[in-house]
Amino acid sequence: MKNRRFLVGLAGVAAVVSYLMWTGVRDSMVYYMTPAELVARIEAEPAFRDVGVKVSGRVVEGSWQRLPGPEHEFRVADLADPGVVFSVRFDDVVPDTFNDRAEVVLEGKFGPGEVFEARTVLTKCGSRYEAAKEDFAT
């Protein structure tokens, strides 16, 4: 009898937690893609342009331009396939670790035209990654 009440309690907690998890996932999920995946997906499904995504890639060396105000433009390439490149605009201050060969994670979506409007820019802590042996040779 008493155990039943506890089972009910257990089921209740489990149900509430799962419900909150489900709605939480639904409301905050973000696709996490590589530039190549994103470009391919948009080609197959143009409506996907308006879906907010996270994209990880590498800033193309020499492409970083600082416009007046805290505004930045740069190009990002796919890590595995450097041929896939798109332009990014970002209207805020970039993180300290940002430079023009940083590995970045962008959150945002494509605006009109072929420019990706980033809402946030995160850099992957480059120096936490161990330098390859060859990097020391120079």
Partner: protein, 680 residues
């Protein structure tokens, strides 16, 4: 020194394996010489790993850049302090450090139990040595040997990531590792209890202080990490729901559940299977945390590296441990039957049970969120992330219920509580909660989560204060002692209970501090020297910040120059209502060796809020010395740190060894069987 350290690491593995085999064999056959040899192996390992760690530190101090690890995490210009901390700055070194701490705890456990709890010890040392063997295998064969050479000697190292050059970052990882590794001891005792079939409450009584010690370090480690993020990451927050942060939170959640549920087992002989599952789960999560930070499998801002080999090894180990423990628990199910049942729905044990469900529920939600990218990638071929809103959705309500339970638990009795007594005991605290809620509503606070937090906090604090007051009064009446003496004796007699209440009070403070984030204020403005920006805080204080000047220290470039960084320091005066409060020196730094810049924020703390100044951008080209400042006023953030200190103090009260005469049972330090064993 460094070579000796390298050799020591290679000697350590066979010693660990030898000790594992002999300990288990000795336990099985009862041959005490084998057991002693196994225990000697634990001591020897501590010595060898200390040598290996010393070797790494020596290489850092000696600027031996022929070592890959040293060259990757330091340079000649780095402060000595950070060179020593280089031991745990990167993946390779921190694995050695982790192993050193584990072997140290193993040695302490073996030494403290050299004459007592002998029925458990062979298997305890065997289990600990098995874990150590695994870590040594990883170190030596998973391409993470810290003594690996580059094959040539670069002129200088690459330096330490600027964000890690912070005081909190030097003590945060060791504290966390201490918490992770200390938990291996209760786990080893649990395995030993399962293996020997001694499944009464003895193993819990023996390891209770270890559990609390581990909890103490985990809690501090997490708070230090928040402190680091707050001071160094420069965005005014302290928690990001980043996979690595989650990884450190997970074992804390299950360990906290465990700290509570063992009390039900001790008091009522129930939940034995559940406790076994919790201790195993917590241990697995400590390993999982190590693995997660070391594998980079999930996208995280501070994952160490994408080393898939190490990921497979860790996953294999996790799977093996989980499998073995599951088999053991199922095999021992007949001995793990509860001795009694819950007598009433309204009782402290049912409150504890509910608390456990919530902690495990939160842990599950956090695991799910952390692994969601992997799960979706596995099933749908597409990584999908979930962000902070997901975690808040689940954890804010659950956290609020847990907060409220902290007020309910102490007031309702074990076994059964009558409604009339509940009414009597809850009247005042509930009134306090309602009063706070009403006052805040009247002041115009409409943020429901923050409002609930403050109201429930008032309720819980009232309960705790009343509890101390009633206990002291009851004791004073019985013993005839004065108020203060009664209070001291009251706490001394049952340190766990009263220390626990102190911890709860600290947690309440932390919660209110977290809720303060609902009232953050931020302003971003570009200023020229002499200009000011005004901010009005949630408490209604008018702050005015004046950017006075910019100074620049740019050391001359020369061979003898040992400067690590170049600095642009802004001088900012903070005034409140015209009164000058402080002068802040937020900085932008540039690390030439790493080609990286960093921000040092300016923080001015008052009792109720922090003024947090971030120099976002310094205009160096025009010579006008204009700086973009982001100014935040963050209410109640200092309370998180005060609360953390109170939590630590309470945990220390709970785990401090009871003095002679006050009765060791009060803190439960020892098992009477040991005395029997000695006498026999």
């Amino acid at each position: 020194m460094t070579t000796l350290g390298e050799v020591a690491l290679w000697i350590a593995l066979p010693i660990a394996l030898w000790g594992t085999v002999l300990s288990f064999a000795g336990g099985r056959t009862g041959r005490t010489d084998l057991v002693l040899s196994g225990e000697r192996a634990a001591y020897a390992l501590t010595f060898l790993l200390a040598l290996a760690s010393a070797g790494i530190v020596a290489a850092f101090l000696g600027e031996r850049y022929e070592f890959w690890y040293v060259a990757s995490y330091s340079n000649r210009e780095l402060d000595t302090y950070f060179k020593v901390a280089g031991l745990w700055a990167g993946q390779r070194g921190s694995l050695v450090f982790w192993t050193l701490l584990l072997s140290g705890f193993a040695s302490i456990a073996v030494f403290r139990n050299r004459r007592r709890n002998r029925e458990f010890m062979p298997y305890v040392s065997g289990t600990l040595l098995a874990i150590l063997s695994f870590l040594l295998v990883v170190l030596l064969f998973a391409e993470v040997n810290p003594f690996e050479r580059l094959g040539f000697t670069p002129a200088n190292g690459r330096g330490l990531n600027p964000q890690l050059q912070n005081y909190w970052m030097t003590i945060h990882p060791p504290t966390l590792y201490l918490g992770f590794t200390a938990f291996a001891v209760p786990f080893a005792f649990a395995v030993s209890a399962l293996l020997t079939g001694r499944l009464d409450s003895r193993w819990i009584a023996v390891t209770r202080r270890w559990i609390l010690l581990s909890w103490f370090f985990l809690t501090n480690g997490i708070i230090f990490g928040m402190r680091w993020a707050y001071e160094e990451l420069g965005w005014g927050g302290y928690w990001f729901w980043d996979p690595v942060e989650n990884a450190s939170l997970l074992p804390w959640l299950t360990a906290t559940a465990f700290v509570h549920s063992i009390q039900i087992q001790e008091n009522r002989g129930m939940l034995k299977v559940w406790n076994m599952c919790l201790v195993v789960a917590t241990f697995l999560l400590t390993i999982f945390a190590t693995f997660l930070t070391r594998s980079g499998l999930i996208e995280s801002v501070h994952s160490f590296a994408e080393n898939l080999k190490i990921a497979y090894i860790f996953l294999g180990f996790l799977g093996a441990v989980a499998g073995i423990c599951a088999v053991l628990i199922i095999y021992r199910l007949p001995l793990l039957k509860g001795e009694s049942a819950i007598q009433s729905f309204v009782s402290r044990e049912s409150a504890f049970l509910f608390n456990n469900l919530l902690f495990v529920g939160i842990a599950f939600a956090v695991v799910w969120g952390t692994l969601y990218p992997l799960i979706t990638e596995g099933f749908f071929g597409q990584k999908i992330n979930v962000g902070p809103p997901y975690y808040n959705r689940v954890n804010v309500p659950a956290g609020l219920i847990l907060l409220a339970l902290m007020g309910v638990g102490p007031v309702i009795a074990w076994r059964r509580a009558s409604k009339r007594n509940l009414r009597k005991n809850f009247a005042l605290p509930v009134a306090a909660g309602i009063a706070v809620a009403g006052a805040l509503l009247a002041l115009g606070v409409r943020h429901w989560a923050a409002l609930s937090t403050f109201a429930i906090s008032a309720f819980v604090l009232t309960v705790i204060v009343a509890e101390f007051w009633k206990g002291t009064r009851a004791r004073a009446r019985i013993s005839g002692e004065g108020r203060w003496k009664s209070l001291l004796n009251l706490v001394g007699r049952n340190r766990r209970r009263w220390g626990g209440y102190v911890v709860h009070a600290g947690v309440v403070l932390v919660f209110t501090g977290l809720a303060g984030a609902a009232f953050d204020v931020a302003v971003t403005q570009e200023l020229a020297p002499g200009e000011s920006v005004a901010v009005r805080s949630a408490f209604g204080h008018e702050y005015s910040l004046t950017y006075e000047s910019l100074s620049h220290s740019r050391p001359r470039a020369s061979a003898a120059n040992r400067e690590n960084d170049w600095r642009w320091t802004a001088l900012v005066t903070v005034r409140r209502g015209g009164e000058r409060l402080a002068v802040m020196r937020p900085e932008r730094r540039f690390y030439p060796v790493m080609d990286q810049s960093s921000t040092e924020v300016g923080i001015h703390s008052t009792a109720f809020e922090d003024v947090y100044v971030i120099p976002r951008d310094v205009d160096l080209e025009s010579g006008a010395e204009r700086v973009v400042f982001e100014v935040k006023v963050l209410p109640l953030v200092p309370w998180i740190w005060y609360g953390g200190m109170i939590v630590a103090a309470g945990a220390l009260v709970s785990l401090w060894p009871a003095g002679v005469g006050s009765g060791r049972t009060a803190a439960g330090g020892r098992v009477p069987g040991a005395a029997a064993g000695q006498a026999a």
